[in-house]
């Protein structure tokens, strides 16, 4: 799966959690800009597990959505 495809799926997951438009979520968007806190990140990680079928460790410092894309891509 390409990083673009992962980003698209992640943007959909994140947008659903925080009630925003997936189109506004880019690789360079920071979680801080989105108002995403540690519990949202956990919630997102659980949905990633559902969507991609593997668990991602979220205790490391994730700054941008691109960081999360890279984390998922590394598991792929």
């Amino acid at each position: 799966m390409t990083n673009e495809m992962i980003l698209e799926k992640l943007a959909a997951i994140i947008a659903e959690k925080i009630d925003s438009d997936p189109a506004d979520i880019k690789a360079e968007t920071t979680f801080e800009e989105l108002g995403v806190d540690s519990l949202d990140i956990t919630d997102i990680a659980m949905s990633i597990e559902d969507e991609f079928g593997f668990e991602v460790e979220v205790d490391q410092k994730l700054v941008t959505v691109g960081d999360l894309v890279a984390l998922v891509a590394a598991h792929e």
């Binding site: 806190d37 540690s38 519990l39 919630d43 659980m46």
Partner: protein
């Protein structure tokens, strides 16, 4: 149920720690909580027990057993149940079960064993003075908890249909250390006796527990959500319920929530919610309900019953 008169708002907490009303409401779902000023845990347990007995029309001497639950008892010994027995003037067997926030459901299960052996009436009571065991300088935990007590009188019957209990023992996610003591010989750690939680792990554990337990109960009893009047969850965090609702395909309207007014009262939260529902006329005889709880242990539980 019994809750202290003193209301502590989010604005009040903003005077103590770096937090604000908007953040707490949005992130935890709590507007205010009750905090004990002079009431002990046993006082609150007694008041809730008395109200439950009055409501049931049962006198203390008709009780076969009192089961108590608390993580914030006044004393290690006597137990909460013993002190409630004392205050009620009852003479029956009385003891506590420790399963933190899930404990009320463990009391129901324990009571079911006594009913199977012929008990007629059992009083179950959860009472908490969480304000005693939270670190009031930690904004991550002190905004979450509240004080209060809830009780139910159970009578022999066949309305307790099914239950699920899961324990995954460990202290890495939720921990409440005991008082450190003053042993001149002890050389180990002496952690402060306050609630410590790994928020992310607690969230994940709780969401999964609610979603899985509720759906498992429905499935193995051949029921759908349409058959269930209420799902009464342990009131820990609005976002846990919200996420469990999405994950488990359970509409938010099915959940009875009062966390906005009372915060997380640990073992008291489920019986407080039940009493509110009952007194508000939102529970009728014959209604099927599911109770679901999770917490330190780790221990989670759910049960299906008919009111």
């Amino acid at each position: 149920m019994y809750v202290p008169e003193k209301v502590v708002t989010n604005d009040d907490l903003a005077q103590l720690v770096d937090t604000n009303d908007e953040w707490i409401q949005k992130r935890v779902g709590i507007k205010e909580r009750r905090i004990a000023v002079t009431e002990t845990t046993a006082d609150m347990g007694y008041e809730a027990a008395k109200a439950a007995l009055d409501n049931a029309g049962i006198s203390p001497d008709e009780l076969d057993l009192i089961l108590g639950a608390t993580v914030s008892g006044d004393d290690i010994s006597p137990s909460l149940a013993c002190m409630v027995q004392n205050k009620l003037g009852a003479t029956c067997l009385a003891y506590d079960v420790n399963a933190a926030c899930s404990a009320f459901l463990f009391l129901l299960e324990t009571a079911a064993g006594y009913f199977a052996r012929g008990a007629k009436n059992v009083l179950v009571v959860g009472a908490e003075r969480m304000s005693r065991i939270v670190d009031w300088s930690d904004r991550g935990t002190c905004v979450i908890f509240g004080d209060g007590a809830g009780a139910c009188v159970l009578s022999a019957g066949d309305n307790y249909h099914d239950s699920i209990f899961t324990v995954r023992g460990g202290d890495d996610v939720i921990k409440i250390p005991a008082a450190p003591g003053k042993s001149p010989f002890w050389q180990g750690e002496t952690p402060e006796p306050f609630v410590r939680m790994n928020g992310q792990e607690t969230f994940k554990y709780a969401v999964t527990a609610i979603a899985n337990d509720v759906n498992a109960l429905l499935e193995r009893n051949n029921l759908t959500l349409d058959d269930i009047r209420w799902i009464v969850p342990h009131q820990a965090n609005y976002r846990i319920i919200e996420s469990a609702s999405k994950r488990g395909g359970i509409p938010m309207e099915k959940f009875y929530l009062n966390i906005d007014r009372f915060g997380n009262t640990s073992s008291a939260s489920v019986p407080i919610a039940l009493d509110e529902l009952n007194r508000a006329g939102k529970l009728d005889r014959g209604d099927k309900i599911i109770l679901t709880a999770f917490g330190g242990g780790l221990a989670n539980a759910a049960c299906l019953l008919t009111w």
